[in-house]
């Protein structure tokens, strides 16, 4: 990562995440096809719903003939963490036009969010439209293309998990977390580790009684509150 906020630096920096999208996108396409969804619908879901984990959930709920509203509600709940990420990102684009804000906001993902947060550490806490928009579009197109290819490959491969592709997303979160930990100087390192430790404990306890589609959001909110309290008490 460098301090340039240009289309070409965005293209370079987003490449590793594109690899992750391709892995999971392929897996999603294969799973969708194996579940009996047409390649057209599989690709449309990636283009319209556009939400990693939620798409796997939609597929599994379609298979079990769940009511439409409960599928939509589940997708909304899984993706509700987007509200938190967009709220964190939006202040950096307040000076851009409303249309540009809507274009940027509409394609925010876990990974473009994490990349943006990482980038802030190199640019004196600044982001711009050109850089973030490029990151978003690379992700969006890679995801849609990988979904389509996965759907077409689905006739030949029935079990994508066998190859460890589903771990691409988890390893991406591990990598992004580590890079954030070592580069974010706005929060003390020990405090960051403390928050990560809290998340582990909260996930372990929360998973006992919080439905999976709400767990990320609840744990994240609790961890942020914990971070604020610790910061004022001890740091």
């Amino acid at each position: 990562m460098n301090n340039e906020l240009t289309v070409s630096s965005a293209a370079k920096e987003t490449l590793p995440t594109v690899f992750g999208y391709i892995g999971i996108g392929l897996a999603y396409g294969i799973v969708g096809k194996a579940s009996g969804i047409s390649p057209l619908m599989i690709t449309l879901m990636s283009l319209i719903t556009y939400g990693g984990a939620s798409q796997f959930i939609i597929v599994s709920m379609l298979v079990t003939h769940s009511p439409m509203l409960s599928i939509i509600l589940s997708a909304f709940l899984v993706n509700s963490r987007m509200i938190l990420m967009s709220t964190t990102l939006a202040p950096y684009f307040q000076k851009e036009s409303l249309l540009k804000n809507i274009i940027l906001g509409g394609l925010v993902t876990d990974e473009s969010f994490a990349l943006g947060m990482n980038k802030l550490n190199y640019t004196n806490r600044k982001l711009n439209f050109a850089w973030f928009n490029t990151v978003n579009w690379f992700a969006y197109l890679a995801w849609a293309a990988a979904s389509l290819v996965g759907a077409l490959l689905g006739n030949f491969i029935s079990n994508p998990e066998k190859f460890g592709l589903d771990f691409a997303l988890v390893s991406m979160f591990i990598g992004l977390l580590y890079l954030q930990l070592i580069s974010d100087k706005s929060i003390k390192f020990k405090l960051q580790l403390l928050v990560v430790g809290f998340v582990l404990v909260a996930t372990f306890i929360g998973i006992i009684f919080i439905p999976a589609n709400l767990l990320t959001l609840v744990v994240t909110l609790l961890a942020c509150a914990f971070g604020v309290v610790m910061k004022h008490a001890f740091f």
């Binding site: 690899f19 992750g20 969804i37 619908m41 319209i48 556009y50 939609i58 439409m68 509203l69 599928i71 939509i72 997708a75 909304f76 993706n79 987007m82 509200i83 990420m85 967009s86 709220t87 964190t88 990102l89 939006a90 202040p91 684009f93 307040q94 409303l98 809507i102 906001g105 394609l107 876990d110 969010f113 994490a114 190859f163 460890g164 592709l165 771990f167 691409a168 988890v170 390893s171 991406m172 591990i174 990598g175 580590y178 890079l179 954030q180 974010d184 706005s186 928050v195 998340v199 996930t203 372990f204 998973i207 006992i208 999976a212 990320t216 994240t220 961890a223 942020c224 509150a225 971070g227």
Partner: protein
């Protein structure tokens, strides 16, 4: 599998709900400024959300009971973390992660 029109309407509905989650903060915060307290709260979102998305994958949920460990994901996380620390490179980390889990599944049958 339900009809194509059912599938399409579900996709559209989920898409609109997700899109609104994404854009509403941008639209609202165009006009309003967040208070210092909220900004401080949000400064923890990146590390909290990334670690939550990781840790969730280390457990298998049994609602109402203690979770069991997802051993393959747990084991695959070790070389992945190590490669992140050594390389400080996202691509290397992702490749090592996928190979690690693939190895566990294919060669050790996990």
């Amino acid at each position: 599998m339900p009809s194509s029109s059912f599938v399409f309407l579900t996709i559209l509905g989920s898409g609109i709900a997700t899109w609104l989650s994404r854009i509403m903060p941008f639209v609202i915060l165009k006009k309003f400024k967040l208070s210092a307290g909220v900004v401080e709260f949000l400064s923890f979102v990146p590390i909290a959300i990334m670690s939550a998305l990781w840790f969730e994958n280390l457990f298998i949920q049994h609602l109402g009971q203690l979770p069991s460990l997802n051993i393959p994901n747990l084991l695959a996380s070790l070389p992945t973390v190590l490669s992140a620390v050594i390389s400080k490179n996202l691509l290397v980390t992702v490749v090592v992660g996928v190979i690690s889990l693939g190895f566990l599944r294919i060669f050790l049958g996990m």
